[in-house]
């Protein structure tokens, strides 16, 4: 099986889906000749032409809104937000409009659109090229929010997102783009949106994570293994729908849970996971559910020292695990 980086897996999914279905097209800033600033769409304009790979003006609200309109008319647009930090001007079109179209018309229209965006930091992106934005969209009924951690998941989930009949926010971690490699089968496969996956089995504690942090979590689990503790790692893969079953099954087995994500702690996805565990596994808990997350500051500062202070690293996750296990 070929080994790909995460961004190569994204590119392959885009290319294969555009080949498969003529209603799939890509729009966004610099997605054409430039192939996107991270090169996710590299080569697509040569293969599919300018009609299906549209370089838009710099205007996120209309990128989302126009994609939405085309989706309602039967196309399958993939709108790229160049960085997740720049998704806010499109908030109304995504949260106010796309998320409600099906519900508000009793199924009269629907929005098979994907909004792809590189998110996250630890790439010296500073306050405005590093943000995690998933909690805002995970709170929004009508949206799906997918965050793949591995190239395999990225390809299968992106294909599923493109074929999904509802709006999907597809978040790709910038630092994972080239640092994370993995086996990816050639050709077509999809993965179900809304199914978490146990990425490492363990008995003493569960860590629920996703995205780049999943990899830091696996490193921490490895460290803890060397210290004699067996840690199970659940990769949510999508934060809406959120696979409560898989989380609860794991916690009922290990009786301890930590949630690790890069997004700010307060009101992050970890809060919802903690509440779900509270509601579904209260009687099984030997310790309070803990959270290891990004600092509660507005995204990630630029200086490397400050950036590191922000990040939930493998070391910090390991430390949190030790605290959890010692409770």
């Amino acid at each position: 099986m070929p080994t790909l980086t995460l961004i190569e897996a994204v590119r392959e999914a885009l290319r294969e889906e555009m080949e498969r279905d003529p209603s799939v097209f890509v729009m966004g800033e610099d997605v054409g000749r430039r192939g996107g600033v991270f090169l996710a769409t590299q080569g697509l304009v040569d293969e599919f032409g300018e009609e299906r790979v549209i370089d838009t003006p710099l205007a996120e609200s209309s990128i989302a809104g126009i994609a939405m309109g085309a989706a309602m008319a039967g196309m399958r647009p993939i709108a790229e937000m160049q960085f997740a930090d720049f998704i806010w001007p499109a908030m109304n079109q995504i949260v106010g409009e796309a998320a409600r179209a099906r519900y508000g018309t009793y199924g009269g229209v629907h929005v098979p659109m994907v909004v792809r965006s590189p998110y996250g930091g630890h790439v010296r992106g500073g306050l405005f090229h590093s943000q995690s934005v998933e909690a805002y969209f995970a709170h929004t009924p009508g949206l799906k929010v997918v965050i793949p951690a591995t190239p395999y998941d990225a390809k299968g989930l992106l294909k599923a997102a493109i074929r999904d009949d509802d709006p999907v926010i597809f978040l790709e971690h910038k630092r994972a783009y080239r640092s994370v490699r993995g086996d990816v089968p050639d050709g077509d496969y999809t993965l179900p949106i809304g199914a978490a996956e146990v990425k490492r089995e363990g008995a003493d504690a569960t860590v629920v994570s996703y995205g780049l942090t999943l990899h830091y979590t696996l490193q921490a689990a490895e460290t803890l293994a060397q210290e004699g503790a067996s840690v199970e790692v659940v990769d949510l893969r999508s934060v809406r729908p959120l696979d409560a079953e898989t989380v609860l099954r794991s916690v009922r087995k290990t009786n301890r849970a930590l949630i690790a994500h890069e997004d700010n702690r307060t009101g992050g996805v970890g809060a919802e996971v903690s509440a779900i565990i509270m509601e579904g596994a209260f009687g099984h808990l030997d310790a309070p559910v803990m959270r290891c997350a990004g600092l509660d500051i507005p995204a990630m500062p630029f200086a490397p020292t400050l950036e590191s202070a922000f990040m939930p690293t493998a070391d910090k996750i390991a430390a949190a695990l030790r605290e959890l296990l010692a409770y």
């Binding site: 209309s62 809104g65 085309a70 039967g74 079109q93 409009e97 179209a101 018309t105």
Partner: protein, 338 residues
């Protein structure tokens, strides 16, 4: 027959039959609009935004779309009852919406009256967030272009909506991609209470069209022939691959913004009375009577028939139950469809 507003080059003026058709449609819409306002005052309709004063613009433009495009689709806003009815929404269906009753076809009473979608009948009004539908309409037009379909998309918006950033982005994108879309501005001089001069430093929204390299024109939107002709020209242009246009209808809103509004604090009664003199229905009636296209007897019949239709629609809607809540979670995602 005298032609008060000569049609633009290449546009055949409306004949007597079309004008009579349009008149009948305006009579129906007016009767319906007046009734829902009354139902609001009776505590039965929670909210009403009247289209009185805008009918000629709404109906004239739909007639132009019908006659000059192989297919068309309308993105409407809350004040566009005329457009919805012209696209085929029945009075009964409209009434079910105002009373939020079971059987309402375009949102199943989940939304305000006239909000929802009816793709089959060619219109949608997804949301109350003013201006948000404009990029969506441009996306609809983009899809038509990509699929080589002959649809002309029309998006209706108010003067207030024109201040939104989304409108700038939409008009810009539409012109860069030469899309078959019409921006139809119903300029009634107010965004709720905010008069035009507090909204913009120019006189006409149409002056903005040049900023996107597209044609823009302002016409008397209380004159159905003028509204028809200006729209028809824009439709022809779009249908022929000429790209987007902006057509601005100068209209009057002589009622309060909605049934929730009280306009007495911000509009003089004189101004309102002046506005009423431009009533599109009265103007068309006068013209057709004067031209002998309409007889007083036919006029009476039309008005009576409309009232009867409104009565029946009201009775049916009043008799209908509220929707049950068992399906309140349905149609959130595809998998939740029932």
């Amino acid at each position: 027959m005298q032609q008060a507003h000569p049609a633009p080059a290449g546009i055949e003026p409306l004949g007597p039959e079309d004008l009579l058709d349009l008149y009948a449609a305006m009579v129906r819409v007016r009767a319906l609009d007046e009734r829902v306002w009354i139902l609001n005052r009776q505590g039965k309709a929670a909210i009403v935004a009247s289209c009185q004063g805008h009918e000629a613009a709404q109906l004239g433009s739909v007639w132009a779309l019908r006659k000059h495009a192989a297919a068309h689709f309308c993105f409407t806003y809350y004040r566009d009852m005329g457009v919805c009815v012209a696209q085929g929404l029945t009075m009964r269906e409209v009434m079910l919406g105002f009373l939020a009753k079971e059987g309402e076809p375009i949102s199943r009473a989940r939304q305000f009256p006239l909000h929802g979608a009816d793709v089959g009948r060619g219109f949608m009004n997804l949301s109350n967030v003013v201006g948000s539908h404009v990029p969506e309409a441009v996306g609809w037009a983009l899809a038509a272009k990509l699929r080589r379909e002959p649809t002309v998309t029309a998006v209706y918006l108010g003067d207030g909506a024109a201040s939104q950033g989304d409108i700038h982005e939409s008009m810009n994108f539409a012109s860069v991609h030469n899309l078959p879309v019409l921006f139809l501005v119903e300029n009634n001089g107010y965004a709720i209470s905010v008069p035009l001069h507090k909204q913009m430093a120019i006189d006409r929204v149409a002056e903005r069209a040049a900023a996107y390299g597209m044609p823009g024109v302002t016409v008397d939107g209380t004159d159905v022939a003028a509204a028809y002709a200006a729209t028809a020209q824009a439709v022809q242009r779009a249908a022929g691959g000429g790209g987007p246009s902006l057509v601005e209808f100068d209209v009057e809103r002589y009622l309060p913004h909605t049934s929730d509004d009280d306009d007495s604090t911000y509009r003089s009664r004189d101004e309102v009375e002046e506005g009423k003199k431009r009533d599109p229905l009265a103007k068309l009636q006068q013209r057709l009577l004067a031209e002998g296209v309409l007889t007083p007897e036919r006029n009476d019949e039309l008005r009576k028939a409309a009232r009867r239709e409104v009565d029946e629609a009201t009775d049916a809607a009043e008799a209908a139950p509220y929707p049950g809540a068992a399906d309140v979670l349905d149609h959130l995602y595809a998998a939740d469809g029932r």
